[in-house]
C-alpha cells in the first residue's frame, strides 16, 4: 500500500486526488483521478496498490533499515528476565498517525503473556500502554495498533512471557499490498501495472510514476469495476472501464474467477494427447505456449464465472507468428470442465491463422449461470493474451 488518504485530497506524500462525484468535471488539476462511483467513498478508505512502492524500506531510529516494508522485532528472553521483568524490543519503530499497524506474537509453548507499546515523541516517552494480556492457554495472538496522537513518531514494543524462553513479536504496517480488511463499502481500489494508457506522478518529489490499470469500488461484498479517468494537465484520459476484467495487462484479476491455471487437455478422443501449457506472465501480457506437437492444453480461470447478464467476452492479444493449427486454437466457454477441450463447450471462437494483433468478441448473451472460461492450444505454438474482459 503506498497511501491512505482522504478521498478528494492529497495526503501522505501522494501527489494526486480522487474526485468521486458522478459527473466528471470539464477540467481538473494535473494528476486528478475521476472515478464514476455509485457509492460515496468513505474517509480513510481510499487505497492504492503499487508494485514499486508497496514494499518500501523502513528506516528505524537506531539507524538500521528493514527491507520489504516489514517492520519486525524479535527477541529471546532469559529465564531470569522471564521471572523478574519485561523485555523491550531493541528497535524503535517509526510510525505514522492515522495508520493502522498489525502486530502478532508467537511463543514456543502455551504461556501467559502481556504485550505493551511505549509511544515516543522523538526520544521521549509519550505513553506506555498494554495492548494485550493473554492467559496461559495461548501461544500466539494478533491484533492492531494505531498511534494515539499525531505527535507520536515511534514506538517500542515490550512484552513479558511468563516462564517462556523463546518469543517472537512482529509488527507491520497493516494492509501493505493487500485489500484493507474489513473493507468498508465505498472503498476504492486502484490496481497498477507496468504499463497503462496514462501515468501519474505518485510523489510530490522524486518523479516516481505509477501506471493505473483499473479502478474498483466495494459495493456490498464485491469489488465492482468502475470507469475512471486521469487528468494529465490537458485532457481526461480513461484507464478503467466498468467492464469486468479476467486478465488486464499483467493483472491476473484474481478477484474475478480466481487465478489462471494451465493444464494439459487433449482436443478430443481423436487428438494426439495432452501436454500442459507453459504460461509465462510477462510485462503486461500472458504468453501461452504449447511446446509439444500434436498435443493439447488449456489455460483457464480456476473458478467458474457467473455469466448471467453478461453479453460479450472480449479478448485482446497478439500472435507473433502464424498459428499452425487455427482450428483448435480457441477461446472457450465450458459449462463444466471435461476430459477434452471440446467436452461441454457451450461457445467458442478461434483466433485465426495469420500473425498480428487480435481484438475478438465472443457472444455469451444466451448463457447464464456459472461457466469456466479459457484458452485451448493444440500443436506447438504461442499465443499472447493482453486483456480478457466481460461486458
Amino acid at each position: 500500500m503506498l497511501g491512505r488518504t482522504n478521498a478528494g485530497s492529497s495526503a501522505g506524500g501522494l501527489n494526486f486526488r480522487v474526485i468521486q462525484r458522478k459527473e466528471k468535471p470539464s477540467t481538473g488539476k494535473k494528476n486528478d483521478i475521476w472515478v464514476c462511483t455509485d457509492v460515496k467513498i468513505p474517509k480513510y478508505t481510499f487505497s492504492v496498490e503499487d508494485p514499486y512502492l508497496a514494499y518500501k524500506d523502513v528506516d528505524l531510529l537506531d539507524g538500521t533499515t528493514i527491507k520489504d516494508g516489514y517492520i519486525s522485532t524479535t527477541g529471546s528472553i532469559t529465564a531470569q528476565q522471564a521471572k523478574y521483568g519485561e523485555v523491550y524490543s531493541e528497535n524503535y519503530i517509526s510510525v505514522k498517525y492515522g495508520t493502522t499497524y498489525y502486530w502478532t506474537y508467537t511463543l514456543s509453548e502455551k504461556k501467559a503473556m502481556w504485550l505493551a507499546i511505549a509511544e515516543y515523541t522523538g526520544d521521549k516517552v509519550f505513553s506506555s500502554r498494554i495492548i494485550k494480556v493473554s492467559g496461559v492457554d495461548g501461544n500466539g495472538e494478533s491484533g492492531t495498533y494505531t498511534p494515539s496522537k499525531s505527535t507520536v513518531t515511534s514506538v517500542r514494543i515490550s512484552w513479558r512471557a511468563y516462564g517462556d524462553s523463546g518469543c517472537k513479536v512482529t509488527m507491520t504496517e497493516k494492509n501493505v499490498g493487500y485489500y484493507p480488511e474489513p473493507i468498508p463499502e465505498g472503498s476504492v481500489w486502484f490496481t497498477t501495472g507496468t504499463r497503462s494508457t496514462v501515468a501519474y506522478n505518485a510523489l510530490r518529489r522524486n518523479d516516481i510514476h505509477v501506471y493505473p490499470l483499473s479502478a474498483k469500488q466495494r459495493i456490498g461484498d464485491k469489488w465492482c469495476s468502475k470507469s475512471a479517468e486521469l487528468y494529465d494537465g490537458t485532457d481526461w484520459i480513461q484507464f478503467s472501464s466498468e467492464n469486468v476484467y479476467l486478465y488486464n495487462h499483467g493483472d491476473k484479476c484474481i478477484e474475478n474467477g480466481g487465478g489462471w491455471v494451465a493444464a494439459g487437455k487433449n482436443i478430443s478422443s481423436d487428438g494426439g494427447g495432452s501436454n500442459k501449457l507453459i504460461m509465462a506472465l510477462g510485462d503486461g501480457s500472458m504468453a501461452l505456449t504449447q511446446s509439444a506437437a500434436a498435443r493439447g492444453g488449456i489455460a483457464y480461470k480456476n473458478v467458474a464465472i457467473d455469466l448471467t447478464g453478461i453479453s460479450t467476452i472480449n479478448i485482446k492479444g497478439k500472435k507473433s507468428e502464424a498459428l499452425n493449427n487455427d482450428a483448435w486454437t480457441s477461446f472457450n466457454v465450458w459449462t463444466s470442465l471435461g476430459a477434452y477441450i471440446v467436452s461441454n463447450r457451450a461457445a467458442y471462437l478461434t483466433f485465426g491463422k495469420t500473425s498480428g494483433t487480435f481484438d475478438l468478441n465472443l457472444d455469451v448473451s444466451s448463457l447464464t449461470g456459472e461457466c469456466y472460461v479459457g484458452i485451448g492450444l493444440y500443436n506447438t505454438q504461442t499465443l499472447t493474451i493482453e486483456e480478457v474482459s466481460l461486458a
Binding site: S311, T312, D326, A327, T335, V342, R345, A346, A347, Y348, L349, T350, G352, L360, N361, L362, D363, V364, S365, S366, L367, T368, G369
Partner: protein, 112 residues
C-alpha cells in the same frame, strides 16, 4: 455433420434454398432443436449484432438460452435411450425365438 446458416448466421438442419452449407463436428449427437438455437460464423466472416458489437468467425455461440436448448437435448437423449432399450428388447426377443427354433429343430431331429 452438415448444417445450414442463414444471413444472420443462425443454424438450421434443413436448407430452404437460400442458406449456406457448413460442415462442423460441434453439433455431433445434438438434436435439431439444439442445433437451431445456435449461431455459427465461419472463419473470416463477421456479424454485426444489433448493439453494434462485431463478432468475427470462427465463432459458435447460442442465440437461444442454453438452458432451454439443454432441455430439448435431454428430452432427445431420453427418447434415444428409450428407443435403444426398445430395440434391445426386440433384439433379445428375436434371439430367444431363434434359440427356441434351433432347439426345437434339434429335438425333432433327435426324435427321428
Amino acid at each position: 455433420m452438415i448444417i445450414y446458416i442463414d444471413t444472420y448466421y443462425k443454424c438450421h438442419v434443413t436448407n430452404d434454398g437460400t442458406m449456406t452449407a457448413v460442415e462442423t463436428d460441434f453439433f455431433d449427437g445434438k438434436c435439431d432443436a439444439y442445433v437451431e438455437g445456435y449461431r455459427y460464423i465461419p472463419h473470416g466472416l463477421t456479424w454485426n449484432s444489433p448493439d453494434g458489437t462485431v463478432f468475427t468467425g470462427e465463432m459458435v455461440a447460442p442465440w437461444k438460452p442454453l438452458g432451454e436448448l439443454d432441455i430439448f437435448q435431454r428430452a432427445y437423449e431420453q427418447e434415444r435411450y428409450q428407443e435403444i432399450v426398445t430395440e434391445n428388447a426386440e433384439l433379445l426377443e428375436a434371439m430367444a425365438a431363434m434359440v427356441d427354433d434351433v432347439y426345437n429343430q434339434d429335438l425333432g431331429e433327435m426324435e427321428e
